[in-house]
């Protein structure tokens, strides 16, 4: 916790390390004593009684203290040496190198995403592939799309929205209610749900126009919770906690995915299998996500996209230059909400069942985490963060072998959100600007290409007045 970076790198100070370890062990003991040392359980008479867990407490304290000791004698000196070396050799990762790497990574990732169902099919077989395409592919892509949608609001316009899941819910409920009431198809209701969500984006965006930063975040959180509570309590309309079931599934342009003669498999002379629908859903959400990405890239180069980025950088300067901040903010809210609406109606169509449980604050927090951890404004960063956070938590479900280590009542899934929260803190502390650094404005006026050299702005002579960046 203290900074050993200033200590001489060559000499490992064992006494110091031991003292730090002892202090850490003491603090860890104090922190864990009440909640780990004791467990509250109900006995036969339904009374709460205490059990002790001294071995577990001792093990956890030992692990934390051990980690601190290793940090003090190995990691900290190494970091100190590394810092000295990188100071001597200048910045380690040259921006140009990173740029080339990114350029290669994008087509590779895209290619992988397109081929993913084929890879899953060939590796896991028809039976096993459903799980891999649905739980990992579709699930991750939903969050990639939500992340990219929220990226417009948070990453480009700089408005922290903690109630984003409300628009996701609006999309999902629009599709579910309209499809059940009027029997309209998914393809008609997809744009309708998007428009309704955008409308709600504007509606909720209006009152919060004056707010900035943390205040905006908390009010949007309140709005998100209000919408969820209304979904719970307005039973005649939404069926409350019980949710809406029997939502029509999307069709292949009118051909349903079922075992009938009119079904997809029969029409195309294939043997019926649920895998076709899963693969179709995968490409559907991939297409929607790509639409989001393509629109974001285009919008960034339009005046409105420039205005968003200007707004994020400095609202007062923006207003002074005659940009209509009201319209700029509202379009950002509407755009972001529209993509959440698309994702929501896709979610409802994929699940066939929705309830308010799917739209808790936790979902908003997860989406915000993906955007911020990925690096606000960076499409690639958001996608990587979604893969790590959602894929990582999904993979926790698959770790059954841990039961052999920790006993049969060990359930790895309950640690999902625990590790998720811890990961959020860790990444923030390690890289506050996200995995891929925050996007700089797409356009600079008479400025160098990379912000690292911004300090030398005066001496750099640029041939053109304005420079553009892409990607």
């Amino acid at each position: 916790m203290t900074h050993e970076a200033s200590a001489p790198a060559s000499r490992v100070d064992i006494v110091h390390a031991l003292r730090e370890t002892a202090i850490t062990a003491l603090i860890a003991f104090g922190l864990l004593l009440p909640l780990i040392g004791f467990n509250t359980v109900q006995n036969i008479h339904n009374e709460l009684v205490l059990e002790t867990r001294w071995p577990l407490l001792a093990a956890m304290v030992a692990i934390i203290a051990g980690g601190r000791f290793l940090h003090a004698i190995l990691l900290a000196p190494w970091l100190a040496r590394h810092a000295v070396r990188s100071r001597q050799h200048g910045e380690a990762a040259h921006p140009a190198v990173r740029g080339r790497f990114t350029r290669l990574l994008v087509p590779f990732t895209l290619g992988f995403a397109v081929l993913y169902p084929v890879i899953a099919l060939s590796l896991a077989g028809t039976q096993g592939a459903v799980k891999w395409i649905d739980n990992f592919g579709v699930q991750i892509l939903i969050y990639v799309m939500l992340g990219w949608g929220l990226n417009i609001v948070v990453g480009l316009a700089g408005l922290l929205d903690l109630g984003y899941v409300a628009f996701y819910a609006v999309g999902a409920y629009s599709y579910a209610l309209l499809a059940n009431a009027f029997g309209l198809s998914f393809w008609i209701l997809l744009p309708v749900a998007g428009c309704l969500a955008a409308f709600w984006g504007i509606l909720l965006g209006f009152p919060v126009l004056r707010l900035r930063g943390d205040y905006l975040a908390i009010v949007t959180l309140a709005f998100g919770e209000i919408i969820r509570l209304i979904l719970i309590n307005w039973v005649p309309m939404t069926n409350g906690y019980a949710g809406i079931s029997g939502i029509p599934r999307p069709t292949f342009f009118g051909i349903p995915f079922n075992a009938s003669d009119e079904g997809f498999a029969a029409r195309f002379g294939l043997e019926f299998s649920p895998i076709y629908r899963t693969i179709f859903l995968y490409y559907l959400i991939l297409g929607l996500a790509m639409l989001t990405a393509a629109l974001t890239v285009r919008l960034r180069r339009l005046p409105i996209g420039r205005a968003w980025e200007a707004l994020r950088e400095d609202e007062i300067a923006c207003r002074s230059l005659g940009i209509n901040t009201t319209n700029t903010k509202l379009t950002a809210f509407a755009m972001g909400a529209m993509f959440a609406g698309f994702a929501g109606s896709f979610f409802a169509a994929r699940q066939g069942f929705i309830s308010p449980e799917s739209f808790t604050f936790m979902e908003s927090a997860v989406i915000v985490a993906i955007v911020v951890l990925g690096g606000m404004g960076s499409l690639l960063g958001v996608a990587i963060a979604a893969v790590i956070m959602i894929g990582g938590t999904e993979i926790m479900r698959e770790l059954d072998f841990l039961k052999l280590v920790f006993g049969s009542d060990f359930d790895p899934t309950q640690y999902r959100m625990l590790l998720f929260g811890f990961g959020m803190v860790l990444i923030m502390v390690w890289r506050p600007r996200g995995l891929i650094a925050t996007r700089e404005p797409s356009t600079f006026l008479n400025a160098p290409r990379f912000s690292l050299f911004r300090a030398r702005k005066a001496e750099s002579a640029q041939p053109s007045l304005a420079r553009e960046r892409h990607g």
Binding site: M1, I27, G30, L31, L33, P34, L35, I36, F38, N39, T40, V41, Q42, E47, L48, V49, L50, L160, P207, V208, R210, L211, G213, D214, Y215, A217, I218, V219, L221, A222, F223, E225, I226, L229, I230, N233, I316, F361, M362, A365, V368, A369, V372, Q414, Y415, M417, L418, F420, G421, F422, G423, M424, V425, M428, V429, P432, R433, T438
Partner: protein
């Protein structure tokens, strides 16, 4: 009328608990300008610490006197919760000081998720209940309709403990060197540091005080409702934050007034309108206050500097 008086009594009790949590929000916001999103979960953790201490005292050590038990529980919960919040500040917020504006907020959201899930994993997802105590009530009036206005001993304990701790706390902040350092850091951290105030230490102490008050709230919550679960941090946290904003964020008396107001609004709404929508009422108050009265009742207007 009887219903109103009864709801007034209930509302003030609930409001005292919110006020205690709200002070934590307002102090932390005042000194480092950050919405400590995890504060509601710190409150929840403190309620669990209080629960475990209470069980330890009553079932293991066999302490019969509830008053004595409550006193010890308060002290223990305050100590351990302070340690928890101190560690949180040290690990999750301090490295981010001076980073971009939203980084501490995101870190705090992560911490909030971590804390509630940690308690869920460590203590199980079930709602924990303690045997009721201090159940005697004092009947104030007996109306002809048969509706009784009553104050329970629990409520009196909540009022007395809250008032006493607020007095102690007010004394610390306004009369001691520690409080002066804290107020100086709120006004200008750089200048305070130049004048020889250890800013890091002062911020740590702020978190410790905030946690101690949250622990009082947690103990009172456990005693008043008799139940606690791992998910109990979020909603009281948001309501207390609403209280802090309503009273004027950064203002300590404001936090208490805001807490009482939120408590009253919630109980009155439940009594006269719809209990299902009581959280909607609280969240709406939050949104309305932020939009129309962002400086709160006692707060200073936020001057935008270029």
């Amino acid at each position: 009328m009887e219903v109103f008086v009864q709801q007034l009594i209930n509302g003030i009790t609930l409001g005292s608990i919110y006020g205690l949590i709200a002070i934590g929000y307002t102090m932390v916001f005042g000194i480092i300008g950050m919405v400590n999103f995890a504060h509601g979960d710190v409150f929840m953790v403190s309620a669990f610490i209080a629960l475990i201490t209470l069980l330890l005292l009553t079932t293991w050590l066999g302490i019969g006197s509830f008053a004595l038990a409550l006193f010890i529980v308060l002290i223990v919960a305050m100590l351990f919760t302070s340690l928890v919040n101190w560690a949180i500040e040290r690990v999750a917020y301090r490295p981010l000081r001076g980073s971009f504006r939203l980084a501490p907020l995101i870190s705090a959201i992560g911490m909030s998720i971590f804390l509630s899930n940690f308690v869920q994993v460590a203590q199980g997802p079930r709602v924990k209940s303690v045997p009721p105590f201090f159940n005697e009530v004092i009947v104030l009036t007996s109306a002809s309709s048969g509706y009784e206005v009553a104050v329970s001993y629990k409520q009196i304990v909540v009022w007395v403990v809250t008032a006493a701790l607020l007095l102690v706390f007010w004394f610390v902040v306004s009369k001691t060197a520690l409080g002066r350092a804290q107020r100086a850091c709120e006004q200008d951290q750089k200048m305070a540091a130049l004048l020889g105030i250890d800013v890091d230490r002062t911020v740590s102490i702020t978190f410790v005080i905030a946690a101690a008050l949250a622990a009082v709230a947690g103990t009172m919550y456990l005693m008043y409702y008799g139940v606690v679960s791992f998910a109990d941090g979020f909603v009281p946290g948001v309501k207390a934050f609403t209280a802090a904003v309503l009273g004027g964020i950064g203002s300590l008396p404001g936090a208490v007034i805001g807490g009482l107001l939120i408590g009253l609004i919630e109980t009155m709404w439940s009594a006269y309108f719809s209990i299902d929508y009581k959280d909607v009422a609280a969240f709406s108050v939050l949104a309305i206050t932020m939009i129309f009265l962002p400086q709160g009742i006692l707060g200073r207007p936020d001057v935008e500097k270029v």
